[in-house]
């Protein structure tokens, strides 16, 4: 059981600058060949100021701060027992290479399914550029029980 007192705890906020070459490597890793995501001239021709951040890449920026996962270690959660249960993105504006994004997360829920020996931690994140909301994310982390 994970202490429900964790609910509401803020994780360290951080700023990340979206890097073009990392977006290209991400595109390669996921097999994305649409030139809009890898070629600046094609991105501009499609109306983007630079390479667009693809739909799920914001999750990666959230993980870039070492503090993003420190709380799991502090709780004594073993990485081998952690699974990603659910992920949601709500999009408000596009982000692009060169943007400085501010990432602020908090633990929004903690609950257990005792019969199935599962614990759940829900992390909610706001991503902003200056004061403009870019996206919100909700990440349900599942922790498998030790006897499972």
């Amino acid at each position: 059981m994970i202490d429900r007192a964790l609910i509401g705890a803020a994780l360290p906020a951080h700023d990340e600058i979206v890097d073009r070459s990392r977006l290209r490597r991400f595109a390669e890793a996921i097999g994305e060949t649409d030139p809009v995501y890898v070629d600046v001239a094609s991105a501009r021709a499609a109306g983007h100021p630079d390479l667009p951040v693809p739909p799920t890449f914001l999750f990666c920026l959230e993980m870039d701060d070492p503090g993003a996962f420190a709380f799991q270690a502090e709780l004594g959660i073993d990485t081998g027992r952690v699974r990603h249960g659910e992920q949601t993105f709500e999009y408000h504006a596009m982000a692009h290479a060169g943007d400085r994004l501010h990432i602020a997360s908090l633990i929004s829920d903690v609950y257990s399914r005792e019969q199935r020996q599962l614990d759940f931690i829900v992390k909610s994140t706001r991503i902003t550029r200056d004061d403009e909301l870019i996206a919100t994310m909700r990440n349900v982390i599942v922790i498998l029980g030790e006897d499972r």
Binding site: A29, G31, P55, F59, T79, R83, H84, E86, Q87, T88
Partner: protein, 145 residues
């Protein structure tokens, strides 16, 4: 690959399946590096076995990224309002994921929205991820297959 060859925004319309390349160890190494998710369960067979798994398995977010590809093949990303996935089964190494999407509702409101049911299945039929996207589909941009 763009709005001129796009889908018709009506309930029941299907996005053509996206069959991605088989998930290899190289895929997972590249995804770990590019995403920054260095969880050893995805790249280190020794760590995976020590934790009781027979082998490494793919990042859930890799499947979700494939769903992103499925969607942005058919409309500009700025039309995407939300994307939600529940990870239902691990994606084993050498899996051959296929992404599917089907329009399940059209909602008229402040803007016209299509609700697209999404899934990722591997070769034995196991659904590894299922969810939904909400996409703005302005009537004037309706395109015919």
């Amino acid at each position: 690959m763009n709005a001129t060859t796009g889908i018709t925004w009506v309930v029941g319309a299907e996005l053509p399946d996206l069959a991605v390349e088989p998930v290899s160890r190289t895929t997972l190494a590249k995804y770990a590096g590019a995403s920054g998710d260095y969880n050893p369960m995805h790249v280190d067979i020794d760590a995976a076995r020590a934790a009781g798994s027979p082998d490494v398995f793919a990042h859930g977010m890799l499947s979700m990224a494939y769903l992103g590809r499925l969607l942005t093949r058919w409309f500009p990303q700025r039309h995407l309002r939300s994307l939600r996935v529940r990870f239902r089964a691990l994606t084993p190494i050498h899996a051959r994921p296929v992404c599917s999407g089907r329009v399940v509702a059209i909602e008229e409101g402040r803007e016209r929205l299509a609700r697209i049911e999404l899934s990722v299945a591997v070769q034995d039929g196991t659904v590894t991820a299922a969810g939904e996207a909400v996409v703005a589909c302005p009537a004037e941009e309706r395109a015919v297959v």
